[in-house]
Amino acid sequence: MEAIGVKLWQALVSGLSVGSIYALIAEGYYITFITTGALNFGQGEFLMIGALFGLTCYITLGFPYAVAIFGAVLLTSLMGIGLERIAIRPVMRHALSLSWVLSTVAVSIILKNAAVQLWGPEQIKFPSPFGAGVVHIGSAGIFPQELFIIVAAIGTVIALQVFLKRAVLGKALMAVAFNRNAAAVMGINVKRMVVLAFVLSSALAGIGGVLVAPITFAWAYMGTVPGIKAFAAAIFGGLENPIGILIGGLVIGLLEQVFGIINSNIKEGITFLTVLLILAIRPSGLMGRKEIKKV
């Protein structure tokens, strides 16, 4: 009985930390989806680049962890500008609404190849700045990095919301999301706001990479699955609802870890099963808006 309790505690903390990473990436989907109707299917690869570049800053160059985070954010932000320019802007004119799916996947394939060449195909250990030891809470052993992830990731998600609700730039971005043409008429540079959305989205993935790498590994193939699970989290909560997305990320993270105690096979499938169930009941996610047919 005792053992189950300990496992449950650990699963709870791991679930929240993994879940908050999903939420972090998924908020990136949210911010570009509301402004352009597109999202970066390569978010996971941006996370991977963030992790590997962070590793280079932290270990190879010996900078502090905070600087590594900053470096990763800087690089992924720049990549966000490039992504918007190369893979989003040219295809958003197209009649076919699917083009962005494949153009962003194409970029992610190229990034993966680049990562293999720059950092090699092996899993690289990313030492946690908080050490490898565990903290004991009751009888459960928990990595301090996990606690740090929860605080940092959820903190970032909240900071993003404050930025969007309070800052002039953030409000301008939200205006574009509500009504692109009206925003343009009010003097907002829509193009620049779209770039900003992709920069923010990419930066979130970059932060996520440096945060998560110490509890996984850093390597070229680390991003794909979290990227897709984060998409599942966004869909679970409702792509247009940031609160729903945060909940979605945490719920999916928790479900995975808790079911992981029972059976590792269930752990792999539970995310997708949950999303299918939710969509069967609510076709635009848990907290998504109900669509009213306009005729």
Binding site: L98, L102, A106, I110, I235, V275
Partner: protein
């Protein structure tokens, strides 16, 4: 004499088919290298998968990023039944295809409600579940997969040679391509393209959108299943590594690269994309760069895909099929359904519809007499459009009842309403923009075309004759609204007024008992307006009962036998044009109370 299956048989189609068949026969003999024959086999079955995906993506406008899952169902089913149950190839293969089709139907269930990224997620989730299941389940061999799958055998039990197997796959691929062409150009393809353009409009002419989406998913899955089956027996060994998300992505890429919604797009796209690894094999670690770059460049610079873009080039225009002319057959036109007794065509009692706290329709009673034009007017926001939306089944009524010729229609879906004889046009035009004017009307005939799926697939005599007869009817309807010279133009290239007339022609094709026109004069220029009034009278004379919503007073007063006025969801007046113009409540609703007292002063 027209051979079956060759629907649009001209010398060109026979020649191309013969050439393709000859190519399939000769290629493995000429190349005669085990590696190349293997590549050819893969190209052929991957093409079949891409073709199937295009039915979903290019024709129907749905998305799937989970085709790897369907491909896996086909592969694992045939692998398991042939290794564990010892079923021969010709039994295990159809089983695999059948099961893939069943999963496709299942996958279609959420597709009616989930759209865009949500539908993408459904398919992604399905793909991942399939991969995880294959990887973890003991039955599917776990991560080790299934080994020593028997090679394909001939019915007499002898194992096929690689060349023979390629011939089989090639023949199936050729058959799939031919049948796909048949379907695409038949009523089935037209219906799928129509619901891609506007689901709501498709429903109002009687198309059961959901059934057609399921059909598209099932057809697509059959193709994926065929691919999976061929793959399993080619390799002799499968494990979950072959059924990953990347497979779904690359299949979708090949469709878009070739040109989705074009007849030969999937062929071109899948051949090019799947040859990349072979051609650039020497690049090794740079291979994914090339792959990603080619993907990116084609998507950016060839938005319609290779075939789609080539088709737009002038030099290729002459390869286009010239549209089959049809002489209008006005004699065969029968506009209205049989009159249903002497009572009202439509009788609406105490109809209510609320949105949140707002009562858009508040106990509306309305009766429309057969053979009349009934006008429905009222200020903006008075509930006119809501009325049409409820009666056409797009919105559900909150309370009240709708009767058509004495039968109660209780909360029916739009396509059921169309079956019963109620159809409509739209205030914001909803045509099937990519289809020709003629095809728009042909979609309108949906409820009257009887040839079924297989008749269309194999282009039986029945299906072809029916199509020809209805094309002549469609031409007659276009002539009726004055659009016969635009029959082969795309709907989106017509002028605004012409588009409104085309919507009317499409609705007439339904043979409605009641035709509702929602602001037919909006945006129409004065010349076209006179034409519109003339056509409305012609429709009435043909025996169709009409309900018209309109703000254009001259038109509505001119054509209506009876006019009802709505204000804040309630009927405030009813009568002929003269009565309505005198009605104090109507003047108040339009101009406000002070205007009435002023008018009274003026008259006094």
């Amino acid at each position: 004499m027209r051979a079956p299956v060759f629907a649009f048989a001209g010398p060109r189609q026979y020649a191309l088919t013969a050439l393709a068949a000859a190519g399939i026969f000769v290629l493995p003999i000429v190349l005669d290298d085990p590696f190349f024959i293997l590549v050819l086999q893969s190209l052929a079955y991957l093409f079949i998968v891409a073709l199937g995906l295009d039915i979903l993506v290019g024709w129907t406008g749905q998305i799937s990023l989970g085709h790897a899952g369907l491909y896996a169902v086909g592969a694992y089913t045939t692998a398991l039944t042939s290794t564990k149950l010892g079923l021969p190839f010709w039994l295990s293969a159809p089983l695999g295809i059948l099961l893939a089709a069943a999963f496709g139907a299942l996958l279609a269930l959420p597709s009616l409600r989930a759209k865009g990224p949500y539908l993408a997620m459904v398919t992604i989730a399905f793909g991942f579940m399939a991969e995880v299941t294959a990887n973890r389940w003991s039955l599917t061999g776990g991560p080790m997969g299934i080994m020593s799958i028997p090679g394909p055998t001939l019915p007499n039990g002898r194992e096929m040679t690689a060349t023979e197997y390629f011939w089989l796959i090639g023949a199936v691929a050729l058959a799939c391509q031919l049948l796909a062409i048949n379907l695409f150009r038949s009523r089935i393809g037209r219906t799928l393209l129509a619901l891609q353009a506007s689901e709501v409009a498709a429903e109002t002419v009687g198309i059961n959108v959901y059934r057609y989406k399921v059909l598209a998913f099932v057809l697509s899955s059959v193709c994926a299943g065929i691919g999976g089956v061929f793959f399993a027996h080619q390799n002799g060994y499968i494990n979950s590594d072959s059924f990953v998300f990347a497979f779904s992505v690359s299949t979708l890429t090949s469709v878009l690269m070739g040109g989705s919604g074009t007849v030969f797009g999937p062929l071109v796209g899948s051949v090019i994309l799947n040859l990349i690894p072979t051609v650039f094999a020497s690049l090794r670690e740079y291979q994914l760069y090339v792959y990603g770059a080619i993907m990116l460049v084609t998507i950016i610079f060839l938005p319609r895909g290779i075939v789609g873009s080539l088709r737009q080039l002038r030099a290729f225009q002459r390869f286009r099929r010239t549209p089959q002319m049809a002489t209008p057959d006005s004699a065969a036109l029968d506009f209205a359904r049989k009159p249903m007794g002497d009572g009202a065509v439509l009788a609406v009692r105490r109809l209510c519809r609320s949105f949140g706290g707002i009562r858009a329709l508040d106990n509306v009673d309305l009766a429309i007499k057969p053979g009349t034009v009934h006008g429905l007017i009222g200020p903006n926001g008075s509930g006119k459009s809501t009325f049409v939306n409820v009666v056409s089944g797009i919105y559900r009524s909150t309370a009240g009842r709708i009767e058509l010729g004495g039968t109660v229609l209780l909360r029916l879906a739009p396509h059921h309403m169309a079956q019963k004889g109620i159809t409509r046009t739209f205030q914001s035009i909803r045509l099937f923009t990519e289809l020709s004017a003629l095809d728009n009307v042909m979609v309108g005939f949906h409820l009257h075309l009887k040839a079924g799926f297989f008749a269309n697939l194999f282009q039986t005599r029945h299906a072809v004759d029916e199509e020809t007869a209805f094309r002549r009817k469609a031409m007659a309807l276009l002539e009726f609204v004055g659009l016969s010279d635009r029959a082969f133009d795309r709907a989106q290239n017509l002028s605004y007024g012409q588009q409104r007339l085309l919507e009317i022609a499409r609705a007439l094709a339904v043979r409605p008992a009641l035709l509702m026109l929602d602001e037919p004069a909006a945006g129409v220029n004065p010349t076209e307006l006179q034409e519109l009034a003339r056509i409305i009278r012609k429709i009435k004379n043909a025996g169709v009962t009409l309900l018209i919503i309109e703000h254009h007073m001259e038109l509505i007063m001119g054509v209506s036998d009876v006019i009802s006025v709505l204000d804040f969801g309630q009927k405030i007046a009813e009568g002929d044009a003269a009565e309505i113009q005198r009605d104090a409540k109507v003047i108040e609703a339009y101009l406000g109370a002070p205007a009435i007292s002023k008018a009274a002063e003026f008259h006094a």
